[in-house]
Amino acid sequence: MSLRIVVCVKYVPDATGDRHFAEDLTVDRDDVDGLLSELDEYAVEQALQIAEERQRAGDDAEITVLTVGPEDAKDALRKALSMGADKAVHVEDEDLHGTDALGTSLVLARAIEKTGYDLVVCGMASTDGTMGVLAAMLAERLGVPQVSLLSEVSVEDGTVTGRRDGDTATEQLQARLPAVVSVTDQSGEARYPSFKGIMAAKKKPVASWDLSDLDIEAEDVGLEGAWTAVEGATERPARTAGTIVKDEGEGGKQLAAFLAERKFI
């Protein structure tokens, strides 16, 4: 039986660009380039490896990439498709503007249920909100096991296993499918799309769903429906220029004098 994998990918403003907030205190996406969150590339890569492993064993797997985001978020889906995913789902609706984590998890969970799944793969965190909570929220909403923050993952005989490197210990985890997993940037470099992959991606199906397709009321998402409210955002003042010296043999001693002056020694 085909293993149905859904990978959640987020379209985010480029971290190396000048990220800032719009007047309504949501992320201003207008003048910063967007891209597939780099940490979600690791999720796509692990899904591809799980699918390839399965195909080698003479079995089948199908990978759907899923995003909730504005029109441009299609770029993130294209990138994932060109890496090798089979099809894509884009949830897009004007009423989604300003949705917070709880709302996002509701939309993703409904879309995942509608798609059908055996395994959901997320990144460890987005590179903009960086909350690192969505995988746990999805597992809670879907009522399936959470196997999160894995630096190694594999699927065999309806069981997912993985290694979680925590603060105080390394854990080996195991759960029955269906399950939600998230993978860290230690899970293995993501592949670059090949030319063939990029061409093939253009022909792969991208479904577009709005809130009504998912039976979600507008008042449960978006800025109005948000469970959290941002009251203010201020740019951090630029640091005052520090002292910079060139080492001409005494650099270490000069630095020591500075540290002593600041009472660190």
Binding site: H20, A101, P145, G166, T168, T170, A256, I265
Partner: protein
């Protein structure tokens, strides 16, 4: 005064510092009631009482160690229902955030993660977050439900404030889902004897400029002379020169020490995300154009293999 639930992060009864900071913040918005789970839970009570916990709810059960996250969610939910708190606070550890996330879904409440400060506000607690690699500071609150907030380490100074800390057993009945994810093996991390990275007052980090695992002792020697923790950039970690657990940055640890010393680190945005809020920043880099110099209070343009050992010697001499 309203009660505030505080989730306790501890290792076999030894309370970790971020939890004590959390108690300090909790006292600004109400009376802290601590929830302490797993092996050694009762032993956390004296430390929690000393830092302001009026009550300590404890539960011990093998489920907490044998299965991932969900048993603790069940327990915190039980505490939530027993106490009806005005807010629930967690340390921003990986586990803390995941328990908080699932609790928020269950009780239908908004969640704010990685707060760096917390104040009482007219419509409930207001959390400060440091976002976009610390380029912006936002102030947010939970507008629906009971605020669920996770707080980063080093967000408040630990203050003693003795309170009753009465220990009460928490009744927990585990949900069917509690045993969904089995922990089949656990290998505790070996202690290096150096301070914990996220808690240390001084951090010395090495990057690609260190050039190899065999050179990291140069960084470690400086750290030891200052009583500091050792950090590393992702480039150094990916090259296998230093353990991943020591990585500082967006996908590593966020540190906010009194002093951060970066040796052979260029200062990429993702590294800055993890150290930009350090009080004093110092860098040694042979490239005068390295972006890290935009952040520093003091920078030395030079070869780290010359500068760092000289600094280490000087620190030792000055410390006598």
């Amino acid at each position: 005064m309203a009660e505030v639930l505080v989730f306790v992060d501890h290792v076999d009864g030894a309370v970790r510092k971020p939890t004590l900071e959390l108690l300090t913040l909790a006292r600004r918005i109400g009376e802290p009631v601590a929830v302490s789970l797993g092996s050694g839970a009762e032993n956390t009570a004296p430390a929690l009482a000393e830092h302001g916990a009026v009550r300590v709810l404890t539960a011990e059960a093998p489920e907490f160690a044998d299965y991932l996250v969900v048993p603790k969610v069940d327990a915190v939910q039980a505490a939530f229902e027993a106490v009806s708190p005005s807010a629930v606070l967690f340390p921003s550890s990986a586990e803390g955030k995941e328990i908080a996330a699932r609790l928020a879904v269950r009780i239908g409440s908004g969640i704010i993660t990685d707060a760096v400060d917390l104040e009482a506000g007219e419509e409930g607690p207001v959390a400060t977050q440091s976002v976009f690699a610390a380029a912006f500071t936002t102030r947010s609150r939970v507008s629906r439900g009971t605020p669920v907030i996770t707080v980063k380490p080093n967000s408040a100074a630990v203050e003693a404030a003795p309170a009753a800390g009465a220990v009460e057993a928490l009744e927990v009945s585990f949900s069917e889902k509690a045993t969904g994810t089995k922990v089949v093996a656990r290998t505790p991390r070996e202690s290096t004897g150096r301070p914990d990275l996220t808690e240390a007052a001084i951090v010395v980090s090495g990057g690609r400029g260190v050039g190899g695992a065999e050179n990291f002792p140069v960084v470690e020697a400086l750290a030891d002379s200052l009583g500091a923790a050792v950090g590393a950039s992702r480039a150094a970690v990916d090259a296998g020169w230093y353990p991943h657990t020591n990585q500082v940055g967006q996908t590593g640890k966020t540190v906010s020490p009194q002093l951060y010393i970066a040796a052979g680190i260029s200062g990429a945005i993702q590294h800055r995300a993890g150290m930009q809020t350090s009080k004093t920043i110092v860098a040694v880099n042979k490239d005068a154009e390295a972006p890290i110099f935009d952040l520093v209070d003091y920078g030395v343009v030079g070869d780290l293999f010359e500068v760092v050992p000289q600094l280490t010697e000087e620190v030792k001499t000055r410390k006598g």
